[in-house]
Structure formats: structure tokens, C-alpha cells
Symmetry: C2
Subunit: 504 residues, 2 copies
């Protein structure tokens, strides 16, 4: 109406890409998950420790999987004193800083856990957010494969505590040194081969999705994703000779029996020291999880596991859900990885200048939550709402006092706080929307006689299905009735008991 | 040793200023607090909703209290598409965006709560962090003072649920329109007086700390904080005449009886429409909280309450702890504000172009936690640690299996994961450090006979105080004994029961 130039422009209410809001159902599901994970981790002797959302950029290092944009992937800003600060992109790098900073006062080995939001300044996509939650556990100061074995067993126990049946998940274990040994065996050691090593590792990582023949193309000349030359997109290969590709595939091939996998790696990597170290660590883990009864059905040796982050130095492990879901084209696909980790012996040492062995495991909470929802392990039915006290002609103060009385008795209750002139119909519609178990009404007649009307909305909802008139009237009188205002709390409790309403 | 230039420089392990790590005790205290607050809010019919840590900068607006640096105070970065994104500095502005974005699908009035980290790019100081936790509740779409009264009652109930006794806190209520009316009454309306208005409001805000005479100086010519001219620092005043300062002080003076406070404001603001509206809203709140029994001892009308954020448009409220603590010089001071809020009818409207009334309340979780720790309402005794299984010559796999057995029986247990060659003494020191209730030892003799040694560390800790030799030997044998390896779980349960160990 006014033509003053100061009239504020209407802002658009929206979130930046790759971020999401969360409603009651998602929040409640996360809470339940987090509690179950915490319970397992504490049973394993891990204790909580938390770091803030930001760190000095140099303390985080450059370990993000996005190798094509080495300086990107994180949200950063410059502080007053010109120093760069970044939002954490995982919970491991900040833990390494924490342990290094508090080294002398911590028990060693130091087992700890934490969950929280992490941030990646990457291109978002379906199910791929720029802020997501991780739940991590780490053991610092434990040099032996027993610490890695413990992580894998804890991962398995966590999956079962969350309701994922045995056989519907698997913890796959490998060792970076085995992969390094294979790369060494085909002459790809040394600084100058870093790029090609990465291409080989990416090809190996595809063994989960593609057949060995397809991966062979990626190891060799490259691969057309349309299935034949010139069809679809082309992915450049690592340019390995057929013999070298054979070695890589022989070492990384999945095998049902872990002893065969170890034997194959051992044979092909006989002349690589790092390869031999990897084989021996992998064998030790296999023996440990076998002794504790976790082998085969829960934890498997799988030499094709790569894991993205650059900081891993030994054992790597990955939790895969074997549940099927549908991809964007409706085809069934395995749900895939919901977490993983590995040994990162160099991450704390960066600060300490002395070797500090460490191994850790990270759960992608949001992704796992999607999986649990899929298999019905997350309660998705809407919660029963509060009792709604309607406002009907009298003093607001009197109605608000009624609500206070209910709340003080531990009953979830609300006063209708919309425009007090709204009709009773509008207010009842609100009560329905809130999924209220009952509504309280006090008009002038009731007020004069010290009474209130109590409307059982759950019984009331069933009325429409009744055809018989007598029956209808009977049920109707059961669904709405007058009680003494002084007995409001008891009357409401009766309704709640009738429908077994329990708020958690 | 090597003189290669590539030798990595040792990084310094430290956090940027104003950020902190949190250990088990602090995390557990926050969890307990958050659960208690949540319980109260849900009793009031509020449901959870969460927004991400970042928003478009323009969606957050510029409402930070730091008026001297209007464009600062937030952490911001530019996205790929050149748009500015900021970390949220409170939970209210993001909620306004959320409600505006989802307006049609939300019940109205919409009561919701959320807690989470907020970020301020301000100068940190003692107890003043750049990342801290808030717990907010907001009601959107409720135009009447009943919604504000509900917030105040909920704040009071929350304090008591957290263990703060009645009388040790107070919820103080005021109305911005009363303050606006007073400013109008002394001729400080209009855009051109914005700066002086702010100086007056800041002076009023000091009524909590200073006497009326000292505040009068701030309203008038200015104040020397050394007590007399030329002594200490000088704070410029608002330059009000003595008569105008009288009006401001008369309106904002604390009074024991809320009716007197209302009457004074009413009298002085008789000719100000906005002042009259404020007085009438304040009176309505006073009546509502009186009717529900919350007046005087829990909720008080206090016309000196200002609250910092610029977006408040009506009722403002503040929770003050009356507990005493010591300042940096050891002098007793009141703990002060731990939360507050108010009505912000303009914040959602910025997106909607239509009026959307809203009122909300925010608890400073970290600050309140400090207060609760001070009065002993936070459990600070160290938790009992896990059972520690030591490694003593045998196969790690066998010890790890023992641990797995204990864990599968629901007992918190750890394998010693340090160097397996560490002496038993070193391992027992670790067990002490972990506050373990007992330790398990299996040497070659026990192994050969299918036995384990069980060491009750709580009993053992008491041995040093025993002087009598017989008694000592008797107690020593009670504190360490051999059991069948197959009965390990039962034996450990016996120790836990002996000391009433319950992990939560």
C-alpha cells in the first residue's frame, strides 16, 4: 500500500543446498539409535569425549576422499588473526588433535567415542548431505591387531543391538599394507606413481559393484559404461598390463574362506615387506575374531576393501548391509556401506613427533537410520499428542489454570493458544491435528455448575463406523461426558488408561 | 636425523580461541539436563524440530546484540554460487525460516523445541565461548499474552525439574512496548533517535547491577566507574534531562507488588499508545500467572528487563538465578541470567509478508550447567570403569575371548590393549586409572588348570589402611582369589554386586 522505498523486500524461506530440517519422527529415531550404540560402546569400555565443530584448518589436514579438489571439500573462514578455521569434515582428525593436546593426562590405551554433525562442502545429491551425523569410536595407543579386531566385533555387536539380524550385515576387513604390497609388486611404488596408484585403488573399490572382468578394464585400458566401445561414458584405466592386472585381481579377489584369501595374498606378495606385514596383520585379526566366535557370518576378510580416506595405514574395515533396497530406477540393490574405519597410525603423530598407533570406526548415522527405517526397526507411527483444553467463552486464566493442573499431575496438556474467538469446531480440528487423546471443554453452563466436558477423541474417531442408532448413541455418550471440574485429573487419567496412552 | 627438506613440520595441537573440548562428566551432565528439560517441554505439548547449523546469511538477519559491529558476530562463508552462508548464532532465526517454509503443513499454533550448538564470532572471554549450546522452545501463531505466560511458567517448571529450589530463581517479565512507550514519552521516538534509544536501554539494563543513582548518571551526563569524576573509565551517558531520567526510572523501577509496577507505568505512559498496549499486555500476563499460582515467588513483573536481541516486539522475559557465586576477585555475586526470550512478531513475517505472531524462550545450557554444578545438582563423581582383563603370557585370542564373554553377558569389560609385553604392574596401574572395579589375570599356572585370578580392586584399595597382620591376610585373600575360568561371568557379577556397581 505504502510506496515508501523502505518497505522490506520479502525474503525467501529456504535452506542452502544439501541441508535438511528434521521433524519429531527423525529426531526420535536418531535418539533411540544413539542410545543403543552408546550402550554397546560403553560395554566395550569406551568413554565419551567431544570436540567442537571447528578446528584450525591445518590441524584437520587434507584427507578428504575428493582427490580431484584437494583444497576443497571443507567449509573454511579466516579468523580475526588471519588464521584459517574449518568446520570438521569427520570426527577422527579432531580426535587426533584432542589426544595429542591431552596426551599426558589420558589413560593409554585410550578408548573413546563421540557422535555429532560433520560438514562437507561438496556437491550434494540424493541422500548426500553437506551436514550429516557420524558416531565414532577410537582406540589410541594400541599397536596390535587386537585393537582392530575389537573394533570389528564392536561394529558387529552394534548392528545387532540396532535390530539388524545376523546375516543381514557383514563387517569386511582388509589391510592397506596388503594393497600397498600389491601396488609395489606391480612396480607402482614411489612418489611418482601416486596418481596411478589412486586409479588402481578406485578400480579395486569397484569390485563390489562390477564383475572382475569389468574391473580388469578399469585396471587396464579403461571402460565404457555402455558395455561396448563408444557406448556411454568412458572411464580412463590405470594402464596396467594384463599380467599386472591379474596380480591385483588375484590378491583382491573375494574368497569364502579367509585362509584362502590370506594364502593368495601371501603368495603374490612374497617379495614385498609391506605386503607381508599386511598379510600377517590380517591373519592375526582373522584368528582373533575366529577365537571370539565372530568369524565368517559376522566378520569376513575381504581384500577388495579400500576405504577412501588417505590417512589409513593398516587395517581397514567396512560395515555393509546386505539388505536390499531399490535404486532410482526401481531395481533392487544392496543397501551397502553404513560405516567403516581403520588404523591411522600417522594422524596423532603429526602433532607429537613420535609414533602414536590408533584405530577407529565411524558409523554414518543418517545413512544407517535410513536403512533401519527401511526394515521397520524405527518406530514411525505418530506419537499420541497432548490433551487439548479448549477456550470457550470464559476467562483465559481459568482455562490456563486447568492446563497447569494437568501438567503438574504429569499429564501432557496444551491450552488452545490460537485466536480465542475461534469456534469450538476449529479448536477440535486443531486437537485432531495434534493427535490429542482427549479434549476438555468448559462452556458457560458447565462453568456455572463446576463441571467440564471431556471428549475422548480416540473413542470419538471410531463413532463414524457405527451404523446402529442405539449403539451409536451409547458409544457417543461414552465418548463425551461431563465430570466435576475438581476431578479433571482423575477423569483424564481414566481416558489415558482406557487407550493405554504412555508418553515416553 | 634425516636432513631431507620434506620432513613434516610438527603441528601444534590446539583449538582456536573460545572453543572447548568436553569430557565424560560434562557430557553426562548435559545429557541429564537435556532429558529433564525435554520432559518438561513435552509435558507442555511442545514437539521437537531441528534445523541445520547453517543458513543463508540473509535469512538469519542482523539481530545480534553486538551493536557496535553490526556486520560481525557471525561465521560466514561464500558458497559456490556466490551466496553467503552463516553458522546460526541462535535457534530462533532458523526456526522462523523453518516455520515460514513449512507454514501450511504445520499445526497452528505450533509449539516446538530444539537444542543444539550455536556459534558467535565474538571476542571470547571467561565463560564466554564462540560455540555454545542453547535449548529453545517457541510458540508460533499464538497472538495472546497467554502464550507468553505459558513460556514463563514452563521456564519456572524447568528450573525446578533441574533441581533449582523455588526461591533460588525468578522469571522476570517485561514488555518492550512499555520501554518503547517510555522512550516515546521522553521524545526519543523516530528513526533519528535510534542511537540514543540504545544508550537509554543499555542504562536500564544496568539496573540489575547498579543503584538507581548510578543508572541516573548513565541516563544523563555519563558515569565514571571509579565513583567520582576523573576516576576509572568513563561511560558516555544518554544526555537526558533530569526530568526525563526521572520518567525512565519511575517506569522501570523494580517494585515488589506487580500492581504498583503496572500502575506506575500506566500513569507515566498515559499518552503513549504503544506504552498503553505494553502495560495492558503485561497486566494480562500478571493475571494469568497469578491465576495458575506462579506469581511472586516464581514469576515477577520487572520493568527493568531489556533483553538484547533486536527482534523482540512485545513481552520479554529472563530467568535469573538468585544463587550466589564468586566473581574473579572472590566477591560474592548473583549467578544471574541463564535464559530468556520474548515475543518476536516480526521474524516469521519477514518471509511471509503477513503478520505471524510468535514467542519463544531460550536456555543457555552451558551457563545453566555451570550453575547446577555449583549447587551440587550435577553428579560429578567419576563413573566406575569397566572390568579389565590383563594380558599375561598367553595367546591374545584367549584373553580377547574372555572379554567377549563378559561383554556378551552385559558386563562392561576391556582387554588390555597396550603393548602385550607390559608388566602386570603396568597393566594394574592402567586398571586403576580406568577406575576398574576388578581385574582378571590368567598366568600359565591358571591357564593349565582352567582357572583365572580375580582381583577386587575396590576391596584391594582398602587394604593399605589395615594394620593388623592377620586381618590384612584375611582381607587380601578376599580381594584376590582364583575361580574356574568357566565361572568367570558369575564371579565378576559377584564382585559388582558386592560394591553395588551399576552402570547407567
Amino acid at each position: 500500500m505504502a510506496d515508501k522505498s523502505k518497505k522490506p523486500q520479502k525474503l525467501k524461506a529456504r535452506l542452502p543446498r544439501g541441508l535438511e530440517d528434521r521433524g519429531p519422527a527423525a529426531i526420535s529415531a536418531t535418539l533411540q539409535m544413539v542410545e543403543k550404540i552408546r550402550e554397546v560402546y560403553e560395554r566395550y569400555g569406551f568413554e565419551p569425549v567431544e570436540t567442537p565443530a571447528m578446528e584450525f584448518t591445518d590441524a584437520l589436514g587434507k584427507f578428504l576422499p575428493d582427490q580431484d579438489r584437494p583444497n576443497e571439500g571443507v567449509f573454511s573462514f579466516q579468523d580475526d588473526d588471519e588464521q584459517w578455521i574449518s568446520l570438521r569434515y569427520d570426527l577422527t582428525a579432531p580426535l587426533a588433535r584432542y589426544v595429542a593436546e591431552n596426551f599426558d593426562s589420558l589413560p593409554k590405551p585410550y578408548r573413546s567415542y563421540r557422535f555429532g554433525w560433520v560438514f562437507r562442502n561438496e556437491k550434494p545429491g540424493p541422500g548426500r548431505f553437506r551436514q550429516f551425523m557420524q558416531f565414532d569410536a577410537d582406540t589410541v595407543g594400541a599397536p596390535t591387531p587386537a585393537a582392530d579386531a575389537e573394533m570389528c566385533m564392536m561394529a558387529a555387536d552394534t548392528m545387532e543391538a540396532l535390530g539388524i539380524p545376523r546375516g543381514s550385515y557383514v563387517v569386511k576387513v582388509n589391510n592397506r599394507k596388503v594393497l600397498d604390497g600389491a601396488l609395489e609388486a606391480i612396480g607402482l611404488g614411489g612418489e611418482e606413481n601416486a596418481g596411478r596408484r589412486l586409479t588402481v585403488l578406485r578400480a579395486i573399490d569397484k569390485l563390489d559393484k562390477f564383475s572382475a572382468d569389468e574391473v580388469r578394464k578399469l585396471l587396464g585400458p579403461g571402460r565404457w559404461d555402455g558395455g561396448e566401445e563408444g557406448k556411454g561414458d568412458f572411464t580412463s584405466g590405470a594402464g596396467l598390463s594384463a599380467a599386472d592386472a591379474d596380480i591385483v585381481l588375484a590378491v583382491t579377489q573375494k574368497r569364502d574362506d579367509w585362509k584362502e584369501a590370506i594364502a593368495a595374498a601371501d603368495a603374490y606378495l612374497a617379495r614385498s615387506d609391506v605386503g607381508q606385514a599386511g598379510v600377517s596383520e590380517l591373519e592375526e585379526i582373522a584368528k582373533l575374531v575366529t577365537a571370539s566366535g565372530y568369524a565368517s557370518d559376522r566378520i569376513r576378510i575381504d581384500p577388495s576393501v579400500v576405504r577412501g580416506l588417505e590417512y589409513y595405514t593398516g587395517a581397514v574395515y567396512e560395515v555393509e548391509l546386505l539388505l536390499e533396497t531399490n535404486d532410482e530406477k526401481g531395481r533392487p540393490v544392496r543397501f551397502g556401506s553404513v560405516g567403516g574405519g581403520g588404523r591411522y597410525d600417522g594422524l596423532v603423530s603429526r602433532f607429537r613427533g613420535e609414533p602414536v598407533p590408533a584405530t577407529g570406526f565411524s558409523i554414518g548415522v543418517s545413512r544407517l537410520q535410513a536403512a533401519l527405517t527401511l526394515i521397520g526397526k524405527v518406530d514411525t507411527k505418530p506419537a499420541v499428542g497432548p490433551v487439548v483444553v479448549t477456550v470457550f467463552g470464559g476467562e483465559i486464566a481459568d482455562y490456563q489454570k486447568m492446563v497447569a493442573t494437568l501438567r503438574n499431575a504429569g499429564i501432557r496438556a496444551e491450552l488452545y493458544l490460537g485466536n480465542p474467538k475461534h469456534s469450538l469446531g476449529q479448536q477440535m480440528k486443531y486437537a485432531d491435528r495434534r493427535n490429542a487423546p482427549c479434549a476438555i471443554i468448559q462452556g458457560s453452563d458447565e462453568r456455572a455448575n463446576g463441571k467440564v466436558q471431556l471428549k475422548d477423541l480416540i473413542l470419538g474417531a471410531g463413532l463414524t463406523e457405527i451404523k446402529d442408532r442405539e449403539e451409536y448413541l451409547k458409544k457417543q455418550s461414552e465418548a463425551q461426558y461431563e465430570v466435576d471440574a475438581s476431578k479433571l485429573v482423575d477423569a483424564v487419567r481414566e481416558v489415558l488408561a482406557r487407550h493405554d496412552v504412555k508418553w515416553n
